[in-house]
């Protein structure tokens, strides 16, 4: 009813009137808007602006146009960093789309309710453990002659495989990806499981009447019905893996040489070790643009497969 009344009055006045009428609503919005605009959006725009500046965060702030971007094209570390993060993202996506899904389907099939609940909680608990603790634990397991992984190899008679996993350029990057093996306990598992639990019982009954076996059941009921979870895991894995920082920082610090460098590590280094805030901002912007393109591409791709279905 209100809307009709206001439509009769001149537009500008009506708007002002309505804004005044809802002034309390704006007061309620204020804390969130203030927090987000000062702490997030203002820096976000600064990032774009300062990517065009030679900036050290203190007294130097000189406009240099696309100088930073030109430098990036010649920066050997940029090439290595983006190549690494593409590899890591691809591996993470493949891992997260397979193992946790299979195990979630497995746990979902368990008939013993107590065992099922135990495993559900069991696979979720590690989510609460700080990522850094997991990384440091693996760093300890990778370490030297007495590291657990090398000891296992010795004990099963593969002593010649013993290795300085994080120190060898050939294995360092994959050692970083390997952290958390067998990669089941985590958010993807929880999401898949939640998706499976939402599937209606009726569908299974129909499938059983049709004589569908467990594999058929998985492929033609479960997989299509949790496609939204699969999409979600895909996007989540991409965005997380693309910004990977903690693992390379704590395990290799980008080394040996620059073989495990990532864009995030580069941003951190340039800003906080070299004081090159402008250049670091431009790497951030580049990262944002690449990630944006990838996300949109994935979304578009997923939409197309939907239509085929």
């Amino acid at each position: 009813m209100d809307d009709v009344t206001y439509a009769a009055t001149p537009r500008g006045e009506g708007l002002r009137h309505r804004i005044w009428k809802y002034r309390h609503a704006y007061v309620f919005l204020l804390p969130a808007l203030l927090l987000l605009s000062t702490i997030k959006y203002y820096p976000f725009f600064t990032a774009f602006v300062e990517s065009l500046f030679d900036w050290n965060g203190i007294n130097l702030n000189k406009f240099i146009g696309f100088g930073n971007y030109r430098e990036m094209l010649q920066d050997e570390k940029i090439g290595v960093a983006f190549a690494n993060v593409f590899k890591i993202s691809l591996a993470t996506i493949v891992i997260n789309l397979t193992l946790p899904l299979l195990v979630a389907a497995l746990v979902f099939r368990i008939k013993n309710v107590r065992l099922q609940n135990f495993l559900k909680i069991g696979f979720i608990v590690p989510l609460v453990v700080p990522m850094m603790v997991l990384i440091l634990l693996w760093r300890w397991m990778y370490a030297g002659d007495f590291g657990l992984i090398n000891q296992i190899l010795t004990n099963v008679g593969l002593a010649e495989w013993k290795h300085s996993w994080l120190g060898d350029p050939a294995t360092a990057l994959w050692a970083i990806v390997f952290v958390g093996f067998p990669w089941v306990a985590g958010l993807p598992f929880l999401l898949y499981l939640a998706g499976l639990q939402n599937i209606s019982e009726d569908l299974y009954e129909v499938a059983q009447l049709d004589g569908a076996g467990p594999v058929r059941r998985f492929l033609s009921i479960e997989l299509p019905l949790i496609s939204s979870q699969i999409k979600l895991v895909l996007m989540y894995s991409l965005i997380q893996a693309f910004q990977v920082f903690e693992a390379p920082y704590a395990l290799t610090n980008g080394g040996p040489g620059i073989t495990t460098y990532t864009p995030s590590l580069h941003i951190y280094d340039q800003a906080f070790n070299y004081g090159r805030f402008g250049y670091a901002s431009s790497i951030g912007v580049a990262m944002f643009i690449v990630l944006m393109i990838l996300t949109l591409a994935v979304q578009k791709l997923m939409k197309n497969t939907d239509k085929i279905d």
């Binding site: 708007l15 309505r18 804004i19 809802y22 309390h24 609503a25 704006y26 309620f28 919005l29 204020l30 804390p31 969130a32 808007l33 927090l35 987000l36 702490i39 997030k40 959006y41 203002y42 820096p43 600064t46 990032a47 497995l106 746990v107 099939r109 368990i110 696979f123 979720i124 608990v125 590690p126 609460v128 453990v129 700080p130 990522m131 850094m132 440091l136 634990l137 693996w138 300890w140 007495f146 657990l148 067998p182 089941v184 929880l190 999401l191 979870q229 979600l232 989540y236 965005i239 693309f242 910004q243 920082f245 903690e246 704590a250 800003a271 901002s281 951030g284 912007v285 990262m287 990630l291």
Partner: protein, 270 residues
């Protein structure tokens, strides 16, 4: 049929054991001196050196307290900012509502590393470098977008007649919000509190750049430098890692339900 279900159970248990083994080793080794770790790394071995925990705790007690403060400040900020905004969105259709909502949700699409550098300068210029609040506010702001989204949905699900009755009695927004909406929304408040708390407690990168020295060092940074003496060795480090994980583990087992629903919803809506 019977055999197949045994196979399923065994396979699931096997993968579970494999997933948990590193954590078990961490627990077992945290009670050992260095020589015990060398000689028998696979499981618990006697004697159990509980002293490792005391040594580790002494090194990270201060940082734990800092983390408790940072997390508390951050959770309070998240809850306050998201519940008030969510109330405005759920209760009123004011001009530019959709615009403001889009502005808030857009934050979910900005990767943290893109703004890391300017955010650092910004916080520094506001005089919050190396402070508790400077560590707390940025991750709190990050989670506020998700908080608004989850709470708006929840508030919109509350019974309309309650609000109407309150309005009839002449209650204003501030009273309706604090006397009716908040008390009825404990489940979603718990979920948002737990999820933002988890992220703030575990936040590594931001604390790494915005703190220096020991003054406000959080536990997530302090665990990187825990040291045992020659005898104690790595056992002390591992004990420290476990201590740093304990607060959230305890919270998880006390409040499994809001935890799990927070994790699922947060990701689904995001």
């Amino acid at each position: 049929m019977k055999q197949r279900s045994i196979g399923v159970n065994l396979a699931a248990l096997l993968i579970f054991a494999l997933s948990m083994y590193p954590f078990l080793i961490m627990l077992a080794s945290s009670f050992k001196y260095q020589m015990q770790i060398y000689n028998y790394p696979w499981f618990f071995s006697k004697p159990l050196h509980f002293g490792n925990y005391a040594v580790a705790f002494k090194q990270i007690a201060g940082p734990i307290l800092n983390s408790v403060w940072v997390t508390s400040i951050g959770v309070v900020a998240t809850l306050f900012a998201s519940s008030t905004a969510a109330y405005a969105f759920a209760r009123h259709s004011f001009p530019f509502k959709n615009f403001f909502y889009a502005v808030i949700l857009m934050l979910l699409m900005i990767p943290g590393f893109v703004i890391l550098v300017p955010q650092f300068i910004n916080i520094k210029n506001m005089g919050m470098y190396n402070t508790l609040i400077g560590q707390a506010l940025p991750p709190a702001a990050s989670y506020t977008a998700m908080g608004v989204l989850l709470m708006r949905t929840f508030f919109e699900g509350l019974s309309k007649s309650l609000f109407e009755a309150a309005e009839m009695e002449g209650a204003r927004d501030y009273r309706i919000f604090s006397r009716i909406v908040l008390p009825l929304s404990k489940p979603i408040l718990a979920t948002v509190a737990i999820m933002s708390g988890l992220q703030i407690w575990n936040n590594f990168v931001w604390s790494l750049v915005v703190t220096t020295g020991d003054k406000v060092k959080p536990v997530i940074l302090a665990i990187m430098t825990i040291m045992g003496n020659v005898n104690e060795g790595d056992g002390v480090k591992l004990a420290g890692y476990i201590i740093a994980s304990l607060p959230l583990l305890i919270l998880f087992f006390v409040a499994t339900k809001p935890f799990v629903s927070g994790l699922t919803q947060g990701a689904v809506k995001g």
